[in-house]
Symmetry: C3
Subunit: 111 residues, 3 copies
C-alpha cells in the first residue's frame, strides 16, 4: 500500500505534527510504503539541524523515503548538503506528488 | 461516489469552514457518501460541546460518518465520551485515510 | 495526466505560493492538464485586482483552468464579474474536486 504524504507547513509545530503523523501511519499500517514529500517551508523539517532530525532518521530507518523539493530549497537558500542524511531532492514537489499518485499512491496532506 | 474529507485545522474558524464544506458537498452531490476524518486539532470540531455540534449532528442525520483519531484525542486529553453523538473513533486518522482511498474514495483536505 | 490543485488558503502569502506551485508543476510536467479549484479565501487569488492576476492570466494562457467556488464568492460578497479574465465559477469547490478525481485526476492541496 503506497502512500504519499505532502507537507508544506509554515509553522514549526505543524511540521513536528506532520513528522509525528508518519510514525502513527507506520504503527497503524505496517504494510504502508511511505514517501514523504516536502515543499515550501515543509523542507525545513528535513534539514540536518532541524529539531526533528533524529525522528526523521529513525523513520528513514523504518523505510520511509524523504524527498525535498529543489525549487523550495533554492528559494530559501538551503544547500542540498544541509539536508538530513538519507533525504533526497526532487526537481519539484508538486511534480513528484503527481507522479506518485499516477503510480497508485494514496495522498494525504499532513498535518 | 465515496469521499473522504480530512480535517486537521488548528483554528476554530477553519474547523467551522470545514464543517460547512460537508454541507456544501452534500448539496452539490446528493450521491456522495461522505466520511469526515478528523485528526490533530480537527478532533475539536467533533466534541459534544463544540460550537458546531448541532451542525455535526444534522450532517450525521444526512448520512455523513464522522471519525476522530484516537491518537489525537489521547494527546489532547479528550475522552471518547466527550465526542458528539454518533462520532466514532479510529486508531489513527492517517491510517483511516489510506484505507478509505485504497477502497476507492476521493480525498479532499478541508477546509 | 490530469491534476486537480485545491487552494483554500487564508493568507495572501500562501495564495501566492499556491499560484507559484502551478508554474512549477507545468515546468516539471509539460504533459500535465491542470485544473486549479479555489474555495474559501482561495477565491481571493482569482479576482481581477488580485496581486497575482498577471500570473493567473499567464498560466491560463498555458492551458490551466481556473475555477472559483460560487458558494465562497457569494459568502464574501464577490461578484462573478470581479474575477480575472478566463476564471470560471463552479457551484461548489468541493463538489468539483470530487468530480475531477472521479474522472481520474490526481489531487494536491496547495500550497
Amino acid at each position: 500500500m503506497d502512500v504519499a504524504l505532502h507537507c508544506s507547513a509554515e509553522s514549526p509545530a505543524e511540521r513536528a505534527h506532520a513528522i509525528a503523523n508518519v510514525g502513527n501511519l507506520l504503527d497503524a499500517r505496517a504494510d504502508a510504503s511511505v514517501v514523504f514529500v516536502a515543499n515550501g517551508d515543509g523542507v525545513l523539517a528535513l534539514t540536518a539541524d532541524a529539531e526533528q532530525a533524529d525522528r526523521v532518521g529513525a523513520l528513514a530507518d523504518r523505510g520511509v523515503a524523504f524527498r525535498a523539493c529543489a525549487n523550495s530549497l533554492r528559494s530559501r537558500g538551503i544547500d542540498e548538503t544541509s539536508l538530513a542524511e538519507g533525504v533526497e531532492t526532487v526537481p519539484a514537489g508538486v511534480g513528484e506528488l503527481v507522479g506518485l499518485q499516477a503510480a497508485g499512491s494514496s495522498y494525504i496532506k499532513v498535518p
